[in-house]
């Protein structure tokens, strides 16, 4: 396995050396043509919305159109595979969501690793919110704890095995020293419906989704996972306040390029993204939805990705989460 990967990387190096001259030429006048950002999910997700919004600023900053391309499917692996095999010339950029990174830990037969990419910039993301079903009789955190410690355990909804909500849910129940059963749904809205109907007892959703439910008569929002309370849920305590400081659940988004992208191209792209995120326009749109800006560039971002990978690996092995392929 490893040797074959090395061969592949070796072949890639030879290939990119052959490309070197044209890359060097491209670099001088980059960007000379439109830049494509690949989204590894179907349209409409947070990665898609954020990138499309940023694309406007990027287009004016870089003087070239920035095009969003959705390559969904395969739990992000299809889009990421496509992006990993693109030319490292600065015209193909990948938007990596958290779940895309989890896949590199969860599955061991992927045609790429984190080393196939040069991390450019991470922009931050949304903390999670813990919701519970009033319809199933859970109104307070104490009710929830009672359910978690009951002999049959609590049922928690997720959008599938290996999602951040799943990893956070297992960790939370483990920290609370109780028992839980994962109920997988196709996506978050289906899961929320299950909680609102009283069929599933609790769920971790993004704080953006959680805020929609704050006045719901069937659902209660019990906690947020950020270090501080969020602007859109000011009355909801953090998990740390409730005594679970280890819970560190959040979804984040970042931009990566195929490994070997010229350093100055990467830094120009990174600077444009940073500028785009810092515009009042961006902050006014996404701030109120509890988007938490956390800009990390270059090596900082890479170190962050590696530490996240290690964190996911620990949760996955501790809780014996396994997939055949």
């Amino acid at each position: 396995m490893i040797s074959r990967r090395n061969v592949l990387i070796g072949a890639g190096t030879v290939g990119s050396m052959a490309l070197m001259s044209s890359v060097a030429k491209a670099q001088a006048e980059w960007p000379a043509r439109p830049i494509t950002i690949t989204i590894a999910n179907a349209p409409g997700g947070d990665d898609d919305t954020l990138s499309r919004f940023l694309a406007e600023t990027l287009t004016s900053e870089l003087g070239q159109a920035v095009v969003i391309e959705n390559r969904g499917g395969g739990s992000t692996t299809i889009g990421v595979t496509a992006a990993s095999s693109a030319k490292p010339d600065g015209y193909s950029i990948l938007c990596l969501p958290t779940s895309g990174l989890v896949q590199t830990v969860l599955r061991d037969r992927l045609p790429y690793t984190l080393d196939s990419f040069t991390p450019i910039v991470g922009i931050g993301g949304y903390p999670l919110a813990l919701i519970a079903s009033k319809k199933a009789g859970i109104n307070t955190i104490d009710d929830l704890m009672a359910a978690i410690h009951s002999p049959e355990g609590v049922t928690y909804a997720t959008a599938g095995v290996g999602t951040i909500a799943h990893l956070t849910g297992t960790t939370f129940i483990r920290e609370a020293k109780g028992k839980g059963i994962n109920v997988s749904y196709k996506n978050n809205p289906d899961g929320i419906q299950g909680v609102a109907g009283g069929f599933t007892q609790m769920m971790f959703v993004s704080a953006r989704e959680g805020a929609i439910l704050k006045n719901d008569e069937n659902v209660t929002v019990l906690a947020v996972t950020s270090p501080a309370r969020t602007s859109n849920l000011p009355d909801v305590p953090t998990t740390a306040e409730l005594g679970y400081p280890q819970i560190d659940g959040r979804v984040w988004y970042g931009y990566l390029a195929p490994a070997g992208i010229p350093a100055d191209v990467a830094s120009r792209f990174s600077a444009a993204v940073v500028k785009g995120v810092q515009t009042p326009k961006f902050q006014e749109r996404f701030g109120p939805l509890s988007f938490q800006t956390d800009l990390k560039t270059g090596d900082d971002f890479k170190a962050f990705l590696v530490s996240e990978q290690n964190r996911f690996r620990k949760i996955i092995t501790e809780n014996d989460i396994k997939l055949n392929k």
Binding site: I78, T155, G162, V183, P189, F199, R285
Partner: protein, 497 residues
């Protein structure tokens, strides 16, 4: 309610909003007609443009695209036997047969008029009882969904034109194809043969385009007489009095079926057209004409589809829970405008809520205005000699299938299913039950497994919950009435020998 509707109309009727509603419906119709290119991708593309618009205007335009696309999908189903969306599969059954009989104009007209009527009624339903209906939708748990889908599958065998046994076999083949991909509960990938592209299952558009579109082209090329029929008779564009009389009750029934099922977020929209088709076939005096181009089989499902598209807004508006991916996208767009759809939105943003409702009706009116004159244009497409038409269909299929995920894998999938479709035709097997099994099968498993997890392994929930029990009883009854005549016939045959 009258006051509220008046407020809504005053919002929606501004020149500005009318213009955007018109634009949305026009774009929606256009992309709906093209196979594979769905409202999801289009709305995502246009979302950034709406950031600069007023939120009410943005939603009015985006929802115009949504129901425009629902409507446009039936146009290609009727004319070319190309179901680009799940809901259009049923429309091919009678709609395309009508087109072959020279009644394409009537099929398109009844679809437009039926949709408009259903849309109008469903809009009133949303306005009058949205919040009440929400609690009905919420009380539908996994057990109820399972029973409903099982019922749908059992009565879907009525779709059979030929042998019942073979059509059940096709349904089972569809169920088998639906197994491919990630198992929702365990997260494990099944039957993917190592392809990442199959993690989320076989693509619906690839199956539908292959089995219907591609196989149909080969069949038509094989029998030159077939295609000449299409060209020679185009017939009058409007409905005859007789057709109108026959279609009216079907439109009414379809509206009721669609309005009720549309509220259920987990597959109600897909079920609504099947359910209405089956109902028409059972209830209509002309049931024996089904399969040869019965107008009831277009009028009912088309009305149901449109009614369901309207009422599927209910869970989104009152709970903030989107019924499908398009709704999720619209919610995303609203949130960027600082509006949180959900329980409070009716009180907090009355002009948004009622404006949207009024615009739904206006959108339906626009669709009628756009589509009635277009019928002539669409039908004249059929006058195009088939030797020009089929390469055009092929090109649009290829691009449509590719654009779903920008994946050449999907194109090759379509090639494979084109081969399967042709094989099934040669073996005289009906493809429609296969598609229905393919769509409903994964839902059946999902809800069955979820019921068992939530009930912690106790199968009694299916009969302890009243709604589920009633649905299961109807399913058992349907199965019996279907099997009994067959058994009796067998007996008679045995006696004769």
């Amino acid at each position: 309610m009258i006051d509220n509707l008046a407020l809504g109309l005053s919002v929606a009727m501004t020149f500005h909003n009318l213009g955007f509603a018109f634009m949305g419906c026009l774009i929606g119709t256009a992309i709906g007609v093209l196979p594979g290119i769905g409202p999801l991708a289009t709305i995502a593309l246009l979302l950034p443009l709406t950031f600069t618009l007023d939120p009410v205007t943005a939603v009015i335009m985006l929802s115009g695209i949504y129901y425009g696309a629902q409507y446009g999908g039936s146009t290609s189903a009727i004319l070319l036997n190309l179901p680009g969306e799940v809901t259009a599969v049923v429309t091919t059954l009678e709609g395309h047969k009508m087109a072959l009989k020279g009644r394409a104009g009537a099929a398109l007209a009844v679809s437009a008029l039926g949709s408009f009527f259903a849309g109008t009624v469903a809009t009133l339903v949303v306005a009058a009882s949205g919040p009440v209906l929400t609690s009905f939708a919420l009380s539908f748990g996994p057990a109820e969904y399972f029973s409903l889908i099982l019922l749908g599958l059992i009565i879907a065998t009525v779709l059979a034109q030929g042998s019942i046994l073979k059509s059940i076999a096709m349904l089972a083949l569809g169920l088998a194809l639906g197994l491919v991909g990630t198992d929702i509960q365990s997260g494990e990938v099944r039957f993917s043969l190592g392809f990442f592209e199959l993690f989320e299952g076989i693509d619906f558009v690839a199956v539908a385009m292959g089995i219907f579109g591609i196989a149909e082209i080969v069949r038509n090329l094989e029998n030159p007489e077939n295609r000449n029929v299409t060209i020679s008779k185009v017939g009058s564009l409007m409905l005859t009095k007789e057709e109108f009389r026959r279609a009216a009750p079907s439109v009414l029934r379809g509206t009721v079926v669609g309005s009720v099922l549309g509220i259920l977020p987990g597959g109600g929209l897909a079920l609504s057209t099947f359910a209405s088709y089956i109902l028409e076939r059972r209830v209509s005096k002309y049931g024996h004409e089904f399969g040869t181009g019965a107008i009831e089989g277009v009028a009912g499902p088309e009305s149901a589809n449109n009614a369901a598209s309207q009422t599927s807004f209910i869970p989104m508006l009152t709970l903030g829970i989107p019924a499908n991916a398009v709704m999720a996208l619209i919610i995303g767009g609203l949130m960027i405008h600082g509006i949180q759809p959900g329980p409070g939105v009716i009180q907090a943003q009355p002009e948004l809520f009622w404006g949207l409702i009024a615009s739904m009706w206006i959108g339906n009116l626009m669709l009628l205005v756009i589509n009635l004159p277009l019928i002539g244009v669409w039908v004249s497409l059929l006058r195009l000699p088939y030797r020009y038409l089929y390469p055009t269909i092929l090109v649009f299929c290829a691009i449509g299938v590719y654009s779903v995920n920008y994946s050449t894998f999907n194109v090759f999938e379509t090639v494979l299913f084109g081969l399967v479709g042709y094989l099934l035709f040669k073996l005289r097997c009906e493809p429609a039950p296969l598609l229905i099994g393919f769509v409903l099968g994964p839902m059946l498993e999902e809800y069955l497994r979820r019921t068992m997890v939530v009930s912690r392994g106790d199968p009694m929930v299916f009969i302890e919950r009243p709604v589920s029990a009633v649905l299961l009883a109807i399913a058992a009854l349907a199965l019996l009435t279907m099997l009994l005549p067959a058994i009796r016939r067998k007996k008679d045959e045995a006696l004769e020998e």
